[in-house]
Symmetry: C2
Subunit: 115 residues, 2 copies
DNA sequence: AATTTGTGAAACCAAAAGGTTTCGTATAAC
DNA sequence: GTTATACGAAACCTTTTGGTTTCACAAATT
């Protein structure tokens, strides 16, 4: 099954799993032990992460260690960065709001008077 | 409803909507016209994007223009960037694989011999 | 005034997501 | 050899998603 990195990191539990394994490899039980849901539930999250390459499982005896492959996040970084110019140029969100507040007259509604 | 940016950008249709509106504001119909699903379906996507601030709706007469607020993507950029050092240091994915191939002996299994 | 256009929202639906319990099995430990 | 551990996977369930059709309504057109 081909999984999407964007979808994989959409879930907070999966982001937490990545965070836990980013520094050091952990086996499945060690990972699931950190959450209050069942091991099976965590196992499914881990599976999704492996399906898009963000995690690699390495067997050692009866244990399976999860190794994070954060390099796979570059597709996300690239996607976000392509808009950085746009958002920095436009002074988005708060800055843009404040900009409008002081440059325009009280009534903000710009009526389309293309009569 | 408080929406999560990570979840909002998980859907490819929503990423496409952001892409379309990043350069110029478009009204709802103009946006939905670019997809082969119903206007109502696209409207729901737009709603989700507004709920997490990635899109702002501005009314002009009977039309509603969608303005992208890409600055909201900074939470994603920040989250990804915190791992950049990790993944660059480790030479993730392909590079790491190749690294292992040439530095280790044929049998890659590293047996834990902590007897 | 009547009609068209652009939208908001409700009711409904199938599939996917996220969770649970249960069971089988290979490896380690006793 | 028997038991305990660490998984993998199946069966099942509920909620969320992403989609549809339909209806209502205000603004713009004719």
């Amino acid at each position: 099954m081909r999984r999407d990195v964007f979808q994989a990191i959409a879930d907070p539990t999966r982001r937490e799993i990545l965070n836990m394994t980013a520094a050091e490899s952990l086996n499945i039980n060690a990972v699931s032990g950190q959450f209050d849901v069942s091991r099976a539930a965590i196992y499914k999250h881990i599976k999704i992460l492996t399906e898009c390459g963000l995690l690699v499982i390495k067997q050692q005896g009866r244990e399976r260690y999860c190794e994070a492959r954060m390099g796979k996040l570059n597709v996300v970084a690239d996607w976000v960065n392509q808009y950085r110019k746009t958002w920095e140029a436009r002074l988005d969100s708060l800055e843009m709001y404040l900009q409008e507040m002081k440059t325009k007259q009280p009534a903000t509604k710009k009526k389309n008077t293309k009569k």
